[in-house]
Amino acid sequence: MITIKDYAIPTNLEEAYETLQNRRNNVILGGCSFLRMGSKNINTAIDLSKLNLDFISETDNTVEIGAMATFRSLETSPILQNNFNGILSKCVKDIVGIQFRNNVTLGATVYSKYGFSDLITALLCLDVKVCLHKGGIIPLDTFLENKYEKDILTKIIISKDSSKCYFASMRNSHSDYAILNVALSNRDGQWKISVGARPMKAQIANNASSYLSENELNDYTIEYACELSSQELVFGSNLRASKKFRQEICKVLINRGIREVMTWK
């Protein structure tokens, strides 16, 4: 059972930030999908819905997504369907159901750094910056590695470039959490492979990515890159699968991704 003592709907970010810092157990509300499962005693719950953070917009060079944009809006957004080979729409579409995705928000997912997150895996293979109210604009991978600091994630900024992007997920039941997620991008020969739900939070396979980028692609080099990624990343076991199985299918999903991307002109 959760308890909430007070509720704030700030009209500007500074006010939201100040309220957040006021007490240890003041928290920002996201989509609230996981809220009822916990047993948090919240002093002030801070609702960002008056801050117009539910946008998805684009400029010539970037796509920006507000923290309060829901997964359903990511799924149906023409901007996201038409950029990054649609992987940001695609990667969320198997998450539970429509009504769930109408609740879940981008900001809460990224801020929480969930290990099972399909979205973080996909974002990680793109050039993404996270905008924090106090922490400023930092690259997503840095944000994921940093320690938690109480801040407000307001939006993410994704660079548009010539990347070809690919996302694949291994699930048993279609609406289950992923056993493993793989996203990869190829920007003018520069590869970036990210793997999530290992079951730890998504990470870039650096060695494999640079090996692929530096070598000519053939059966041998592709397989070697897959092997590298399954060696360099840490995998674990949970209810859904063992470490060994994840390691095996990681190679397969990356291999398929590379070959798929190679066929795109």
Binding site: I2, D6, M37, I42, D47, D94, G97, Q99, N102, N103
Partner: protein, 149 residues
């Protein structure tokens, strides 16, 4: 605290606590079609609309509905009955406990999707679990309904 909402086209003032979820508040105020199946946002039983969008009322704090338009199946009985006829004709209502949430999603789909394929329909409804019917009878009912209505 008090929130002002419109429920099924009626303006209402609801007395709520900050930590109450919408599904519980709606039941408290007599909207008993709203069922709870899971506590984890996984089953779709509590699906209602806020501003015409299907959402999980079990995972929505009641206060978040302040100033919004709420629709439960009690508010769309005509349409619901129209679709339910198809469902019942297939025998695909079975225990009926998931029906209100399921039908609210079907009616939302009908508004949102133009000429959906079978796969589109299945995709739209994935968040609505049903343990009785095995889903295929529901699909038969939807396909017939979409053809006629």
């Amino acid at each position: 605290m008090e929130i002002k909402v419109t429920i099924n086209n009626e303006d209402k003032i609801l007395n709520i606590e900050y930590d109450e979820f919408l599904s519980e508040v709606l039941r408290k105020y007599g909207y008993l079609s709203v069922k709870k199946g899971c506590d984890t946002g996984s089953c779709g039983l509590c699906t209602i609309w806020i501003d015409a969008k299907p959402i999980l009322s079990c995972s929505t704090l009641a206060i978040k509905a302040n100033g919004k338009n709420i629709t439960t199946i009690e508010g769309v009985q005509k349409e619901a009955t129209e679709f339910a006829e198809f469902l019942v004709n297939e025998g695909a209502e079975q225990c009926g406990f998931c029906s209100p949430g399921f039908i609210m999603t079907v009616l939302a789909m009908k508004r949102e999707l133009k000429n959906p394929t079978k796969d589109d329909i299945i995709h739209y409804l994935t968040g609505n679990l049903c343990r009785c019917t095995g889903y295929v009878g529901q699909l038969r009912a939807i396909l017939k309904y979409m053809e006629v209505v």
